[in-house]
């Protein structure tokens, strides 16, 4: 019983949580800003590289494939460290927030590229043929017929990817960005009490659970054939 009381005092102290909460909210805001902006850039990068890969543009599509392999195949933590600590040696000096967004964006871009590639390839070949038989160019067929249909199909996996990115953005704490996890660790040292971690966990859930619910909603809607 003594153990439980200790646990409650250390990890679930309401008074500590109340005190650190305003700071954590600020950290959560950073987490949202960093992951949302990186997801947005990642979507642009991913869509672009996916189109290059499915159209099999020589050389370019090989470069895109290598990009995807590298950034899906190595730890994000390593990528963040490289962008922030290694790039200055070749003259690219990014402040921590910029380095963080660059690292998260190119990492998420690699995953998004795979999602879009699978999405584009899942569209029936007859769609392109019908568009082309009307005299549309390949680019027009992609832009007006294939990509709009892909967008609907990739929404659930894209949202899942976003949830993963929100959690992964906690790795930015290694380059001293005060996102949610780092803030809660600072609070822990300040209060000498880890309840701030519990509060941070709740805040992560408050962000991610609505998104995962949205995914199930979208998937259900698709099963019914509304999308």
């Amino acid at each position: 019983m003594e153990g439980l009381a200790d646990l409650a005092q250390k990890y679930f102290s309401v008074s500590v949580i109340k005190e650190v909460f305003p700071f954590l909210l600020k950290g959560a805001l950073y987490t949202i800003i960093f992951s949302a902006s990186s997801e947005l850039i990642g979507i642009i990068v991913g869509l672009f590289t996916a189109i290059i890969r499915v159209t099999k543009v020589k050389v370019l599509s090989q470069i895109a494939t290598i990009y995807v392999d590298i950034f899906r195949g190595t730890p994000l933590l390593m990528q963040i460290i490289f962008v922030y600590y290694a790039l200055p040696y070749v003259g690219i000096n990014l402040p921590a927030p910029a380095a963080g967004i660059v690292a998260l964006s190119i990492n998420s871009g690699a995953y998004v590229s795979e999602i879009f590639r699978a999405g584009i390839e899942s569209i029936d070949k007859g769609q392109i043929e019908a568009a082309r038989s009307l005299g549309m160019s390949y680019a027009q067929a992609m832009r007006y017929v294939v990509i709009p249909q892909t967008m609907k199909r990739v929404l659930p996996p894209l949202t899942n990817e976003f949830v993963a990115l929100i959690k992964d953005s906690s790795l930015l704490s290694v380059i001293a960005i005060s996102e949610l996890l780092r803030t809660s660790k600072e609070m822990m040292t300040w209060k000498l009490n880890p309840s701030s971690l519990t509060a941070a966990a709740l805040l992560y859930l408050a962000i991610t659970v609505p998104l995962t619910r949205l995914v199930s909603y979208l998937e259900n809607k698709m099963k019914k054939g509304d999308v």
Binding site: A130, R132, L134, G135, Q140, Q149
Partner: protein, 241 residues
């Protein structure tokens, strides 16, 4: 108008077309019949440049459209195609399907395209469905939309690739009726079909294909009433009995 000279198409080591030559004049309704795998669909797909022939020529008004310098998009604007599986764009309404290429290829204004599209949909009897989505339509309605969509580009000829094969039997007639009207209006048509009644009634010429070759060709009544080649005879006996 369309002349095909000694067309060959190989997929890997398989010869799908084995030297096909034919001629279609303006206003002709050429019906192509034959067992499955005989190369009928591949022939149409070559004419629409969806497949690249291995050798041979396809002449459109005397110009070889298989050449490297040909603008394929321009050729496809002149020759429309209707597919067995409809291939309507599921994310667009019926009118959206019909007007997309008008707006994006012919650069028509939305209002102008909508008017043209509505006229065509009225022609195929679907004026009341213009705002419906493809998944709200029956197969026969979908195929009529696909025909209107092909007609929108004002093509000089239309290729029909087994357009009634995916339909429930009771929906076949509404599609064939639209095609009959088109034939009457003087549209040049190349029709791959298993509908022998339609072939006989509407076809000006009939070609029987087997193993990538034209086995027999002639006027519709000749082929159906008096086939000369034993393979044509065997095929017709099998499908008509």
């Amino acid at each position: 108008m369309i002349r095909i000279v000694d067309l060959y198409k190989k997929f890997g080591s398989i010869n799908v077309l084995n030297g096909v030559s034919l001629e279609v004049r303006k206003g002709d309704v050429l019906v192509i019949i034959g067992p499955s795998g005989s190369g009928k669909s591949t022939l149409l797909r070559c004419i629409n440049l969806l497949e690249e022939p291995t050798s041979g020529k396809i002449l459109l008004d005397g110009e070889d459209i298989t050449g490297k310098k040909i603008d394929k998009n321009k050729v496809r604007q002149r020759i429309g195609m209707v597919f067995q599986s409809f291939n309507l764009f599921p994310n667009m309404t019926v009118i959206g399907n019909v007007t997309l290429a008008l707006q994006k290829v012919l650069k028509m204004k939305p209002a102008e395209a909508k008017k043209a599209g509505t006229d065509l949909l009225t022609r195929v009897g679907l004026k009341d469905k213009i705002d419906a989505y493809p998944n709200q339509l029956s197969g026969g309605q979908k195929q009529r939309v696909a025909i209107a969509r092909a007609l929108a580009m004002n093509p000089e000829a239309i290729l029909f690739d087994e357009v009634t094969s995916a339909l429930d039997p009771e929906l076949v007639k509404e599609v064939l009726d639209v095609m009959k009207d088109l034939a009457k209006s003087g549209m040049t048509m190349l029709v791959v079909t298993h509908e022998m009644g339609f072939a006989k009634e509407v076809g000006s010429h009939v070609i029987f294909m087997d193993e990538g070759k034209i086995i027999e060709d002639g006027l519709a009544e000749e082929i159906f009433d008096n086939p000369r080649h034993p393979r044509t005879k065997a095929f017709l006996d099998a499908v008509l009995s």
